[in-house]
Every structure is written in C-alpha cells, then in structure tokens.
C-alpha cells in the first residue's frame, strides 16, 4: 500500500542521509576536536559531553554549521552549582536540538566560581540572550560578549545569586519567623 510513510521514505532515500546516531555525532566531534571533549555519557539515551570553557563557542559553531549535525536550536541553557567540585564549581549546560532529524544532545562546560567567565552564545543563538541573563541572575555566570547582561527575573536590588548553594532558600530578611516556631 502506497501510503504517506513509504512516500516519506522514498523522499528521504535519495538525499543519502544516514541515520544520525549518538555514535556518529561523537565520531564527528572527536574528529574535529580530538581529546578536548571528554566525559561522554548517554543518560536515558541523550548524548552528553563536556568541553573546556574556552572552546564552548567553537564547539557550538561546529554543531550549528556542520551540514549533517545541524544543531540549530538551543532548547535550554542553564547552570548547576557543585560546591564540592573545587576549581570547577559552576557547570553551564547547553541543550541543543537538531530539528531536521529530531535529535537532542547536551553539552557542558565547567568554570571556577571565582572567575565565572564564559563566552556568550547569544550571537549564535538568539534564544541564548534571555537564558544567559537568567543564568547570570541566579548563578552569577559572567557571559562575556552578552549585549545586555542584567537581572531578568529577580529584583534589581538583589546583591547575591540565590541559586548558589551557600544561600539558604528561605528569605533571610524576615525576623518574625524563628526556628522555634517554624522549624527553619
């Protein structure tokens, strides 16, 4: 029966595009960047890897430009704070999506919390603009080259980065809630 699915298969075949798997993505990246990219994992089938923070734009640009990889959509961008990971306390995580083949990957860079400078991806992905502002707002990652790196969700007067682990969740300005009554 000649249905839409077979039609699609016929359409796809002449293009000569092989099925993109995690192995082929890893292979292409390793060819380009060698041993710079480390810590390859596949949690729940999603390819995840780590790179040096100086290379983050080069890796993203390669993933964007490559004719087969085509990771041209930045789904999400955020930071994670690992206080015990001395010298690399802050992780910046990029979630990328290839819309043509519907493949997703995750790319991490780590930075020292004392010099939280990471190059901004906002020139490459428009969606990075607000997400980098949010990441700065909550974790204090200083995105170099960002056009307008100011707080986006919290009040402007806030003088700390609330999602860093050293700050307790509860509002510290409050004096009427004490441990005895509220178990804080």
């Amino acid at each position: 029966m000649y249905n839409t699915l077979t039609k699609l298969k016929e359409l796809k075949a002449p293009l000569g595009v092989g099925v993109m798997t995690n192995d082929t993505i890893q292979q292409k990246l390793t060819e380009k960047f060698g041993d710079a990219l480390t810590d390859w994992q596949e949690p729940y089938g999603m390819l995840t890897f780590t790179g040096p923070k100086d290379l983050n734009l080069k890796v993203l640009q390669f993933l964007f430009d490559d004719a087969e990889l085509k990771f041209r959509f930045l789904t999400d961008l955020q930071a994670v704070h690992y206080p015990d990971n001395k010298g690399a306390e802050l992780a910046v995580v990029y979630h990328l999506h290839n819309l043509t083949d519907n493949v997703r990957i995750r790319f991490k860079v780590f930075t020292d919390i004392n010099t939280p400078d990471v190059f901004s991806a906002s020139a490459l992905y428009q969606s990075a603009n607000w997400m980098e502002r949010e990441t700065y707002d909550f974790y204090g990652v200083n995105f170099k080259g960002h056009p307008n790196l100011i707080r986006v969700l919290n009040v402007d007067e806030m003088d700390y980065f609330p999602m860093r682990k050293e700050f307790p969740l509860e509002d510290q300005t409050r004096i009427d809630k004490d441990d005895e009554m509220f178990g804080r």
Binding site: L153, P162, L169, E170, D171, D176, R184
Partner: protein, 187 residues
C-alpha cells in the same frame, strides 16, 4: 393588594444616627453622617494575583454578593477606590507596583490583606516573595486562610466597615498617621 410572593423581606436598614429632629429637619453630628455614608459605599479595588483572587470572584458573584455591603461597584482604577484588596502572593518584584497603586489612591484609603500570602508570605518562605504586604504598605485588616472562604473575606470586609465607621474625620491629618506614612516612605 399584597403580592403573592414576598422577596427579600428581611432587609436590614442602617440605624439613623443620634440627633435632634423636628418638623422637616434633623441636626446631628457631621462625622456620624459621613462615616455612615463612607461605610456603606466602599469601592473596592481588587489586586488579585493568585488563588485568593478566585475566592474573591466567588465573593463578588451572586451567591455571596459583596454588593449587599454597598460595594456594588468594584473599581479598577486606584484613583476612584477606597479599599485596596490585596489577594494572593506578592513577589518582591511586584512590591513597588503594589506601593504605586496604593499611593495613587486618594485619602481616605483602606487596605485589606486577604490570605496567608498577602498577610505573611504564607508557604512561600523564599528569597523571591515579599513576606507580607505590610512590608511596603500599611494594612488595616488581615484575613487568614489559604485561601480564605468567601465568608472569611466578607467577615474581613465587615471589619473594614467597622473601622470606616469608627474613624474620625481628623484621623488622616494626625501626626500619628503622618508618622505611619513616613515610616513606609510615602510622601
């Protein structure tokens, strides 16, 4: 001829204030008349940010009928309203906006904090939420509950009516009141 069905025959009338009456005139305390008028024609300004606002919708609607208390007209301009009803969580970023709305209201003005969040921050004991609106504006009546039932909101509203009724005409000019405003950085 009396109508076959009697509707709403338990209407309660406001008492006439004490005074000296005669043929075609009445002399009484001006303050009492003004209080009586103010108390029974409060225009509320709903400032609803979350679930307490849903309870307020029920309070306004026909079943609980806030209009019974002279608040038929719920206004949405702070310049015309007497009572600011803050219902719901107020984030710290919302604080200055709430204060601006309050400042835009003309004197005399009253504020009611409906629900745990508006009163104290409620369950949101966190860096982003204002721990009670009395940190930015003075509050007259607090209604507890998460969210409070419409009956509780009506009870709070009647408490505001009592305050309005008892308030003297000169209170807003007193040094005490001016100090209160200054402590909130208003004027």
């Amino acid at each position: 001829m009396s109508r076959p069905v009697q509707y709403n025959n338990t209407v309660k009338f406001e008492g006439i204030p004490e005074g000296y009456m005669g043929e075609g005139y009445m002399a009484t305390n001006f303050e009492k008349v003004v209080s009586l008028a103010r108390k029974n024609s409060i225009w509320p300004l709903p400032f609803a940010t979350s679930c307490c606002g849903i309870e307020f919708m029920a309070t306004m609607a026909s079943h609980y009928d806030l209009a019974r208390f002279g608040s038929e007209r719920v206004g949405f301009s702070p310049r015309q309203c007497d009572l600011l009803m803050v219902m719901g969580t107020i984030a710290k970023k919302m604080g200055p906006i709430l204060k601006q709305v309050y400042v835009q209201m003309a004197e005399p003005r009253w504020v009611i904090a409906v629900g745990a969040c508006a009163s104290s921050g409620g369950i949101f004991d966190t860096y982003s939420v204002l721990q009670g609106i009395d940190q930015v504006i003075p509050v007259d009546v607090y209604v507890p509950g998460c969210p409070p039932r419409p009956e509780a909101i009506l009870d709070g509203f009647m408490k505001v009516q009592d305050l309005v009724n008892a308030e003297g005409l000169r209170r807003r000019y007193s040094d005490q009141y001016k100090d209160l405003m200054t402590s909130y950085g208003i004027q």
